[in-house]
Symmetry: C2
Subunit: 591 residues, 2 copies
Amino acid sequence: MNKFIRIDMTTLQASVGDVPEKYAGLGGRALTSNFVNDEVKPTCHPLGKNNKLIFAPGLLSGTTAPNSGRISVGGKSPLTGGIKECNSGGTMSQIVARMGIKAFVIEGMPAEDKFYIIKIDMEGVTIEEAPEEILGGCGNYKAIEILSEKYGKKVAIAIAGPAGEYRLPSANISLKDPEGNIRSAGRGGLGAVLGSKKVKAVVIDGTGAGKIEVADPEKFREASKVFAKALLDHPVAGQGLAAYGTDVLVNILNEAGGLPARNFTKGRIDYNDNISGETLNATITERGGEGKVSHGCHPGCVIRCSQWYADKSGKYVTSGFEYETIWGLGADAGIEDLDAIAYIDRAMDDIGVDSIETAVAVATAMEGGLIPWGDGKAVLEIVKDMAKPTPLARIIGSGAAVVGKTCGLFRVPVVKNQAIPAYDPRSVKGIGLTYATTPMGADHTAGYCISGNILKVGADIDPLKKDGQIEYARAMQIGTAAIDSTGMCLFVYFGIADNPAGFQALIDMINAQYGLALTADDVNKLGESVLKVELDFNKRAGFTREDDRLPEFMEYEPLSPHNVVWDFTPEEIDQVMNFDSEGESEELRIS
Amino acid sequence: MNKFIRIDMTTLQASVGDVPEKYAGLGGRALTSNFVNDEVKPTCHPLGKNNKLIFAPGLLSGTTAPNSGRISVGGKSPLTGGIKECNSGGTMSQIVARMGIKAFVIEGMPAEDKFYIIKIDMEGVTIEEAPEEILGGCGNYKAIEILSEKYGKKVAIAIAGPAGEYRLPSANISLKDPEGNIRSAGRGGLGAVLGSKKVKAVVIDGTGAGKIEVADPEKFREASKVFAKALLDHPVAGQGLAAYGTDVLVNILNEAGGLPARNFTKGRIDYNDNISGETLNATITERGGEGKVSHGCHPGCVIRCSQWYADKSGKYVTSGFEYETIWGLGADAGIEDLDAIAYIDRAMDDIGVDSIETAVAVATAMEGGLIPWGDGKAVLEIVKDMAKPTPLARIIGSGAAVVGKTCGLFRVPVVKNQAIPAYDPRSVKGIGLTYATTPMGADHTAGYCISGNILKVGADIDPLKKDGQIEYARAMQIGTAAIDSTGMCLFVYFGIADNPAGFQALIDMINAQYGLALTADDVNKLGESVLKVELDFNKRAGFTREDDRLPEFMEYEPLSPHNVVWDFTPEEIDQVMNFDSEGESEELRIS
């Protein structure tokens, strides 16, 4: 991997060069965040010509390492105004890596008001006008089909859905998965950045790509085997996720009193059976669905958590049907029916909006009186309306913070303008620290403290108490930043958290591929350096510690059933990103 | 003036106490900003229970000093998230001051979802439920009539219109003027704060109030006479404003190439005659209008700039029909007809939304394709729809920044989320520095550099050049903060800028009233101290110097006809609020 591609949408020219020396050892989030911090003016308008969008496979992407097929996308977020990395499955990461491409960057903005397709193959880059039929409201499912028809079934595709074309702040970047369905680089509105650059889609044709060069193939093979075993041996990664998907968490969080319901007014629901992973599993098993139950979001996945949800007649509705989406629509917005939620999930993928931001925006709008509580039909119509957005569809598509403004609410569950996902910080305090302090805006994947707080994987920390949470949230964010740089799916954490052999195997794979001799400490240092770069960008963009705060209402509205409030002081919160004090937390590091 | 009233909407109790010692020498903006900085948690949600709203007449309000009837309202702004002071004419300031009330504060938030009227008279405070008929969409004109009927024709009224009830971020606080019409504490959404506290209106009955005690009545009378003469002798304050209103500026700014048109894409229009002050004057003169032409917005005004605009049959349509409103709808949104603009102005007053924020939001929405360019009928309907807000009405009522989000625009003319008014900073560079650096968000009244840049009053600085602008913008903001603390209308600047006797008379009045011996230097120190307090609040709320920036597009989109961009560097902008360097600008101070 040594090609570094720049596509200038102002001149409609591209250049393929060698990767700059300083980025040679980086991949995934480490690469995107360093690049954004180096080249994007922190105070630029995210939708203006000075923002840049970078796509980078991880350090292990393209290899035979299990679960290494995530692609990172970076830029300045139109939702938060800060730096953003979001990563996704799909087929792109592996193909791009095998083509020897370290990263491709989209910059500038065309003068003319038309949309383009960027096509990258082994010959180079071509920029052509997008076909009319996939513009102006065409859903992602159909557009991906048309592009696959035109460019070949095996091409990888990243596309801006209608939401991205209209530059709605919740627009995601949708990626074609192995079945031709949709995965999402979901959070923070990078689809709007793609749309602002008038790029409808990036099509990658890997025909002629070779294999990734591996410095020590034997060592790599061996480590890879150990790593796969570590994943499959773990009860969650090896069995639970495949059977129930991430939706297994509905009952777990409900039991823990940490399932935010009715716009974060309570932490438990009584209709959890309607939307639980167990019910999801039973429904899928009963309905069949083209012979599929679970599947992987990218080639090489051994966990296969993605659920394949069909309607009563067995016809595919949606996949990648995640807990956070089901929580948002089911518990937070009170839509008590899994089928209704599935159709909305499909519509969100089709339009290209982040399903967490949109679900929380919907629940906030319900509190604001714009939509009746629990009305799945109304929500489905609003999401579909984003194809040619009505004013209401624009409000919802702009995210929960904008909904809060238009409805004059103070109960708005966002941090840095990004919606708080499926775990209430009052009753799962560790994740609250991640929401508050990650440079990404509220994001559970930035430091998944649910692990040690609720699942008791990697740590065992009382979710209702403050003890140990600061060091834990710091360590989890550091570890996550490192994992996000490898191209690995975050769920590999289950294979390394309590399994020293699994963790060593991950490091061995990197060492074997690059001919290095990294230690666990180096991996942590990498994670820490990524966070520092991201914090530097945000600081220069005007963020301060005052942005590292949860919504004020959580400080004085107790959450049932535990009747707890968010009680970390500002000074305590600020310790999370105080890396100088990390010495204390040695034992909590992912090593 | 020694009463300090606190109204707690949580308990529905009020207390009348003595003014705290530290506020005794303060009035108007100096008092509201110090209070907000002392008592409002800077990171609180502006619409939550921890925000507070304070009303304070100025140091000279209630006296016979000409033009001293402005009332300051302070709080944390739902629009900017920073400190806010906005002041307004109307009858409230003089009455409150004569009742001996230094300030009244509204805090807390009731548990029940119903609206209240706060009534203050010489006996104290009563809190009663608001009559149903003025709620849920009733316009301000009718509501003021009903309240005047109920509480007496002479009561002063501050009211949250429908926009305030719905807590839209552009909601203003409307004040009854001497004719029973409407003036506005317009900018920054303080009407939404009033609405969040479930206060529909504050009614002040001054029956039984005495006169203001004056330490040296003879000196006061003398100074007051000199001051009135200084105002009336100035061609602008004495004649221009009464004849043409502030709308006299349309032709002046158009000529200067500083009249932002079509969402700030150009600096000059060719239909200026349709909307100019000259045309306004001719129309008013021709139509009559209940015998009125110009009038004062508060008792004691000698300038009488407020225009009384009638329809073709001579029936009153609107008053306080200002240049900034006419510019926003006429030039920025391209509505080329003065009658159409007048009806929209009336509707904005009736709904209770800031006419600058709303007009700019409209123009931004036109760029975003939500409203056809120049369509006055559509705009009138949208504003009227705010009475029971449709989604589109909510978007517009949330201000230009939210419009920009929902439309995915990067050309959004706001600073600190507040809309930039009627003077393009690229071709009138001094005012650009005020927009960028005032703690209020873009606000021409915070340091009206149009004066020395365009009108050549008080200074003569080339508007197209950077020379001298930094010191000038600093001095104007300091002077303005002082004037805003006196209860004086900002137009008194015309009587003091180039007239040492006028300026001395203003100081003499304050000294005569309070038995003090202030000098010009003390007045400047007061202004500086007010700004410092405001900057302190904003800093603690999380603002940084990066918030002191104009929209990025102005840095690279040249404005016709002069083809100039905004070219102050961040370092230069940051000098404006660097008070340590003020020694250089001695000659530019308002003294």
